[in-house]
């Protein structure tokens, strides 16, 4: 267990490896979640333009 936030952030010099991995994962998940939502929004706005 990592006792303090500082220890958790630096992880004995390994922090950048762990946090960059987590950041990359979150970016990929966010993109894969937002793309279909944007796609549906686009269909809705096209439909409303058509009346």
């Amino acid at each position: 267990m990592l006792e303090t936030l500082e220890l958790m952030y630096f992880m004995d010099g390994n922090g950048p490896y762990v946090w960059s991995s987590l950041l990359f994962l979150l970016i990929v998940l966010l993109v894969n979640t937002l793309v279909p939502i944007r796609r549906m929004g686009k269909i809705r706005s096209e439909k409303s333009k058509q009346g």
């Binding site: 267990m1 990592l2 490896y17 987590l22 990359f24 994962l25 990929v28 279909p36 269909i43 809705r44």
Partner: protein, 254 residues
């Protein structure tokens, strides 16, 4: 008991219909999202913040809680796509083709995360970002397969033909999954043996293994959430002209 199986069977039959699936997904998606987010966050916080350090690798091993579930998802999504491909080819179920193409970007995403996090983990432990070793190379081929499926589907305007083409490709490409799985046993590799095995007990202690299991469950739930979300968009994109879609999707504007 018979009634239970009858209900399950009827539910699956109902989910094969796009309007029923869309209606079901719209109701359950927020709850699924909450459950997925909680399990996923709990697994990652437990693994990255509270699991003990590894005696050899120190804290860098915590990448395992991201890398292993992503790699498992990357392979099992492909397996699932091949099953949908088979169903689409044999029974011509429209929703199977839609599921296949909705799952492809998600599988590609998880495989990419497995490759990138593996590479990040490789630098401090192996001393290099990349080696052309059997496990890494076969996983890279899996990523290219996903990319090929996405590219092939988007290159064809006729969606029925596109579904058929990617179904064939996904069924043929299934050979890559056992190759990835067994690559660490068949060839001399830098990569460690599989973390999960059905035939042997885990090679790590319970206080590392339990958060890892929680992460795997969380990642699966996140995948189910994203697949449902993506499939809704695919259904609406193909069936926006149909009456049910007009009523259910565009009703907010009326």
């Amino acid at each position: 008991m018979n009634k239970f199986w009858f209900l399950i069977k009827n539910w699956f039959i109902a989910m094969g219909s796009t309007p029923s699936f869309y209606k079901w997904a719209t109701t359950f998606l927020p709850w699924l999202g909450i459950l997925a987010f909680l399990t996923f966050s709990l697994g990652l916080v437990w693994g990255i913040g509270f699991a003990p350090s590894d005696y050899k690798q120190g804290d860098v091993y915590r990448i395992l809680f991201i890398h292993v579930p992503s790699a498992i998802l990357g392979q099992s999504i492909y397996l699932m796509m091949a099953v949908f491909g088979f169903i689409s080819l044999v029974w011509r179920a429209k929703i199977a083709g839609m599921l296949l193409i909705s799952a492809a970007p998600l599988g590609a995403g998880f495989t990419l995360v497995a490759l990138v996090t593996g590479s990040i983990w490789g630098k401090p432990t192996w001393g290099t970002w990349w080696v052309w070793d059997a496990r890494l190379t076969s996983t890279l081929i899996l990523f290219f397969l996903y990319a090929a499926i996405i590219a092939l589907h988007s290159s064809l305007d006729n969606k029925t033909k596109a579904d058929r083409a990617v179904s064939i490709l996904s069924v043929l490409g299934i050979a890559i999954v056992p190759i990835i799985k067994k690559s660490v046993d068949w060839w001399q590799t830098l990569h460690q043996p599989s973390t999960f095995s059905l035939t042997s007990s885990p090679s790590m202690t319970a206080d590392m293994y339990q958060p890892l299991l929680m992460c795997v469950v969380g990642f699966y739930l996140v995948f189910i959430f994203m697949l449902t979300n993506s499939l809704r968009a695919e259904i609406i994109s193909r069936e926006k002209g149909r009456n049910w879609a007009q009523k259910q999707f565009f009703r907010r504007e009326k």
